[in-house]
């Protein structure tokens, strides 16, 4: 990339969640639902001595993409690591359920989820878990009618229960900065030991869970530059394509068979994982 194109592009990673939602929706169509002035703050954080955020770190933006009805659900990674509690989780789950209901009533509504999250908010424990389960159900319901597009831009990445949500999306868009994993690096190091997984070794972490690896292993569908215009164009094209005939998550038997073929006593390299998943990437 040469200097003028670097200077001319608008970084998506550097945008906050609200600005990201605005960047994806058609200009002038955006309406925020359950917004920061609506009093939907987490009732649990302050009583545990944690400063809350007025929108609980989740932006629900309704509008149009390419002229079609759409809702963008953006998670703010800077607030509590993008963790999902009762309120933020309910905002995403509720929006997905309403979008599915709209489709059943003949009002086509698409959804885009901007993942930037460590998963469940520990301070809200079971309520966060329940909300994430509802989000999973909401995605599976909605993707019967419309493509549900997930975007992991970075830098937080997407972990925990929300990595399952990302896996349930019709399509997943990642950047080089993105990371996707069920367990975060620090958790794996704590459980498996630093010799097996050094959470401070950034190239090592990205080589297993980064956007490039996730594309190479077929666990993501589009690899894009950190450029708002490129991400907007990619999301539009995927929404227009509609849901795939078979979702990745419906092919779990294939993935289980591939994993069973591997001997976990041997420490895998990133290339090992690519080889295991190779034929899963194309079909």
């Amino acid at each position: 990339m040469n200097h003028p194109s670097l200077l001319g592009r608008e970084s998506f990673v550097e945008l906050g969640a609200r600005a990201r939602a605005h960047a994806l929706l058609d200009a002038g169509t955006v309406r925020e639902l359950a917004g920061p002035f609506d009093g939907l703050v987490s009732p649990w954080l302050a009583r545990q001595g944690v400063v809350p955020q007025a929108d609980d770190g989740v932006i629900v933006a309704k509008g149009r993409i390419d002229g079609h009805g759409a809702v963008v659900l953006a998670i703010e990674g800077a607030f509590q690591g993008g963790s999902l509690g009762e309120v933020g989780g309910a905002k995403i789950a509720g929006a997905l359920e309403l979008a599915a209901q709209d489709n059943r009533r003949g009002v086509p509504t698409r959804a885009v989820i901007l993942f930037e999250t460590g998963g469940v908010r520990l301070q809200e424990a079971n309520l966060g878990l329940a909300a994430i389960a509802e989000i999973h159900a909401g995605i599976v319901d909605l993707r019967r009618y419309q493509a549900v597009v997930g975007v992991i831009a970075g830098q937080v990445g997407c972990f925990g229960g929300m990595s399952i949500a990302a896996g349930l999306c019709s399509y997943l868009v990642v950047t080089r900065e993105a990371r996707l994993g069920l367990n975060g690096p620090a958790v794996i190091e704590q459980e498996a030991g630093v010799a097996e997984y050094d959470s401070r070794d950034r190239p090592f972490i990205w080589s297993f869970t980064g956007g490039e690896q996730r594309i190479a292993t077929g666990l993501a569908d589009r690899y894009v530059e950190d450029d708002s215009a490129a991400i907007r164009a990619t999301v539009r094209a995927l929404l227009a394509a509609g849901p795939p005939a078979t979702h990745r998550s419906e092919r779990y038997a294939h993935y289980l068979a591939r994993l069973r073929s591997y001997d976990p006593a041997r420490q895998p390299e990133p290339q090992t994982v690519r080889d295991i998943y190779a034929d899963g990437a194309s079909s």
Binding site: G16, R18, A19, H22, A27, G28, E32, G35, P36, F37, A46, G49, V50, V51, P52, Q53, A54, G57, E76, A78, F79, Q80
Partner: protein
Amino acid sequence: MEQLQFEYPAGAPAGRRVLVGVVGSGDLEVLVEPGSAGTTVIDVTTSVDGYGKVWDAQLARVFKAGPRAAMRIRIHDFGATPGVVGMRLAEAFEALDASADDNSKEQP
């Protein structure tokens, strides 16, 4: 975590709502809504205890610089320095003064 409240004399109620910032490390969120004529009330929720005097000094400096519209301001602070607090408030006032048809990203 500590909650503080401040009041300053003000003019007529502000004309709109504004949100700037994020409750991230070293940053803060400022929510501005129209207040009752004559008074601006500021509620601060901060993650850092024991800095009431610093908040008082910083906010007094901002609000005694000149008359402003009456606002109800809520601040959710996550360890911002006084400089960052000043810049976020300036950002909020700038958005408040911008024309009503300006469809800025930060105004829901």
